[in-house]
């Protein structure tokens, strides 16, 4: 065991998989000599060589397209897209090709590409370095979508993703790369070393894809969330004194419906929270699923607390971000309803 922040945990997952499996290759903008603008691939090129850790042209569609080709040729590519906001030029290769390859070929071809990309706001990135576009990927059949909320899960899920023969889009909430963030920008930063999930084994281990985690048990309310918001939800629940069960979805698709329904059947109340915009966001599916499965247990409407339906503005980052206050208000609203 050792203390790792999320960057180190992600780096370690790469390192272990590259060591273990010579077919694992890494490509992306600035990932090689430089080690990545967030340093997630630091040291890998030195260790595994330029043929396995490849600096790429600034062409997201080309990175994903060539990664698919490498995957068809028996490699296991991990592609970094520098910011999730810049994944759209690669969208066609992801939707039309990566996610459909196995299906359209009757199972005869597949390409086990993992696409890693930092997402989310809170680093003063403005509208083009803050987006959380997970909800447009979870609508695409044929890919797995993941977003970890801590170093331990990040490493274990990334290893699972790299080993998966299904393609994975792996979102990394960059606001919590260096430490958990409870949604209060005025507090001094905290590091992962004081957090239990910052304890990360140096060796190989997996966190299974498709399994949610109950991060707090409670019986009054279920909060379903993921990524940075997990930490905000914990703080907000404390603020309100409500005994909330907090579920970190971790794998957005396929969704671990059982863990959600078991909880909501117990609590009878549910709040869904994410940083992404609300309309047609991932939270809509969570609400739709929970109301379908748990309708007769629900004592109040399911509430959504999310980013507003606007781009992420530079000046109003903390007014945009669904912080403790907004979550607490949501919690109170659900508790008071009915």
């Amino acid at each position: 065991m050792s203390q790792m922040n999320m960057i180190q945990a992600i780096n370690s997952a790469h390192d272990i998989m590259m060591e273990k499996d010579p077919s694992v290759v890494v490509l992306g903008q600035d990932v090689g000599y430089f080690g990545g603008v967030f340093r997630c691939t630091d040291g890998l090129q030195e260790k595994y060589g330029e043929h396995r850790v490849i600096d790429a042209p600034i062409a997201e569609g080309g990175i994903i397209g060539t990664a698919i080709g490498m995957g068809i040729n028996g490699l296991r590519p991990v592609a970094e897209i520098q910011f999730a906001d810049y994944i759209y030029p690669g969208f066609d290769q992801i939707v039309s090709e990566l996610s459909r390859l196995r299906y359209r070929s009757g199972g005869e071809f597949f390409s086990p590409v993992t696409i890693r990309t930092p997402c989310g706001g809170g680093i003063r990135g403005g509208q083009t370095h803050s987006q959380s576009p997970e909800g447009i990927f979870t609508h695409i059949s044929g890919i797995i979508t993941v977003m970890p909320s801590n170093p331990y899960d990040a490493k274990g899920l990334l290893i699972s993703a790299i080993e998966s023969d299904d393609p994975v889009v792996f979102f990394e909430p960059k606001r919590i790369y260096n430490g958990p963030f409870d949604g209060d920008p005025d507090k001094p930063g905290v590091s992962w070393s004081s957090h239990p999930m910052g304890e990360v084994p140096q060796d190989y281990y997996k966190v299974p894809l498709g399994k949610a985690a109950v991060v707090e048990e409670g019986d009054e309310l279920t909060i379903i969330c993921y990524g940075t918001i997990v930490h905000v939800a914990q703080a907000a629940a404390k603020l309100t004194g409500v005994r909330a069960e907090i579920i970190d979805v971790r794998t957005l698709f396929p969704l671990d419906i059982d863990t959600l329904t078991k909880s909501v059947e117990k609590t009878g109340r549910c709040l869904v929270a994410h940083e992404a915009t609300r309309f047609c966001g991932y939270g809509a599916e969570l609400v739709a699923t929970v109301q379908q499965e748990c309708f007769w247990h629900l004592e109040a409407p399911i509430e959504r607390v999310t980013g507003w339906d606007t781009p992420y503005p530079h000046a109003f980052e903390w007014k945009y971000f669904p912080g403790q206050k907004r979550l607490a208000a949501g919690i109170r609203k659900v508790m008071e309803a009915g």
Binding site: G69, N73, R102
Partner: protein, 414 residues
């Protein structure tokens, strides 16, 4: 000369009712283009992108430095497979008209590209075709019946009913699965080739797109990555003059040949007579040598003509002269190879007639066998449960539920 800025709108040389006019095509004489060593530096061989490599001359003789000197067996094999490809197309076109399959796309007039290149490649080379490369499958030995079953979406369909007709694949013969999305296979081929180099293997990748498809982003990505990493790949542009209703000028072909598109990246391009099987074979061999020996990628433009409609959903009478193909200065690729073989004394009109008869029967037999696996309207039918497989490696729970819902409903009366 000074004039106001204007929007230049490309116009084809002739529209319906007008006389075909191919004077815009810049042609070289057969044998006229130099053949450099295959490891020559890209900037010294830019002329290859602007001239036109031709081997067969007007007297149907092979001539010049690009003559691959193929022996009789290979030439006859090429002819047989061109005849077979055309017969297959012809049959499938007709069964579509009869409503037996939903859609079809012929390669009429472009058969030399697939057959000539297929012959020049090694079995371990990975092919990333477009929808007009049926000849590659046929040449590499995919059974006609398998191709037909794909078009029928029947119980023999390699794609399990998921794709429209002509979206074949053959992993055993190193042919990638076709996509309906234009040009997506291009960067994938480059990635495959990079993988080959990463693994230290000698196999190369080869891909094809049409002239119109060169405008897509994936064309640019492929050329850029191929040039940057010097990937062992051959990228082909099959310039058949048309992209549905728009002629090649709308893809930027009015001023410079498509073969020149990579020159600015230092990637050699070769413009070849796409209806001259010998020339195609020769330039492909040159490019394979270059790639296989670590000298990087080549872009090949095949100058040819789309002899038929774009697809069975298209009606070219609306946008081009009906007799345009007949006026195409590079002729019919099958006929030109035949004339060459006749000229060499390797073949006769009788043998050709017999071959065509025999081929028809082969196709007939294949069709009979194919429909025994079912048609759109006749059993046996594919099991609809297949719809839920292969979305993921294992069927996830929610898809099992959806499958069960479908089955339950199928069991009920409405």
């Amino acid at each position: 000369m000074t004039q106001k800025p204007y929007l230049h709108i490309p116009h084809p040389a002739a529209r319906p009712g007008e006389a075909p006019d191919f004077s815009y095509l810049e042609l070289s004489d057969a044998g006229a283009v130099d053949r450099p060593p295959s490891d020559e530096r890209a900037r010294n061989i830019e002329y290859l992108a602007h001239e036109l490599v031709r081997v067969l001359d007007d007297e149907h003789q092979a001539t010049g430095p690009w003559d691959p000197s193929l022996d009789k067996e290979i030439l006859l094999k090429a002819l047989r497979y061109m005849v077979l490809t055309r017969a297959y197309d012809d049959r499938m076109q007709r069964v579509q008209r009869q409503g037996k399959i939903s859609f079809y796309m012929q390669s009429l007039g472009e058969e030399a590209v697939s057959i000539g290149q297929g012959l020049a490649l090694e079995p371990g080379d990975m092919l990333f075709p477009s929808y007009r490369n049926q000849g590659l499958f046929i040449l590499r030995g995919t059974e006609l019946v398998d191709l037909m079953c794909q078009c029928l979406s029947n119980t023999g369909d390699m794609c399990k009913g998921r794709q429209m007709p002509v979206m074949y694949q053959d992993p055993a013969r190193n042919i990638f699965t076709l996509s309906g999305n234009l040009a997506t296979q291009y960067p994938q081929a480059v990635g495959w080739a990079m993988g080959s180099a990463i693994k230290g293997e000698k196999h190369i990748a080869v891909s094809w797109v049409g002239d119109g498809s060169t405008a897509e982003a994936d064309f640019h990505y492929a050329l850029t990555f191929a040039a940057v990493y010097q990937a062992p790949v051959i990228l082909n542009v099959v310039n058949n003059q048309w992209a549905i209703s728009t002629f090649q000028g709308f893809a930027g072909g009015e001023r410079r040949p498509f073969a020149a598109r990579g020159l600015g990246l230092g990637m050699p391009g070769i413009r070849v007579d796409g209806n001259d099987l010998l020339a195609i074979y020769a330039v492909t061999r040159w490019a394979t040598e270059r790639a296989r020996n670590g000298h990087g990628p080549t872009l090949i433009e095949h100058v040819t003509y789309r002899g038929g409609a774009h697809s069975t959903s298209d009606d070219p009478v609306r946008y081009r002269p009906q007799d345009e193909w007949a006026a195409f200065p590079l002729g019919d690729p099958m006929d030109r190879l035949l004339q060459h073989l006749l000229e060499l004394g390797h073949w006769s009109d009788e043998k050709q007639t017999a071959l065509e008869e025999e081929t028809k029967m082969v196709v007939d037999d294949a069709w009979k066998e194919a429909i025994s696996f079912g048609t759109m309207t006749e059993p046996p039918f594919l099991d609809a449960q297949l719809m839920f497989e292969d979305v993921y490696k294992e069927i996830p729970d929610h898809l099992k539920k959806q499958r069960d819902e479908m089955l339950k409903l199928a069991g009920e009366k409405s």
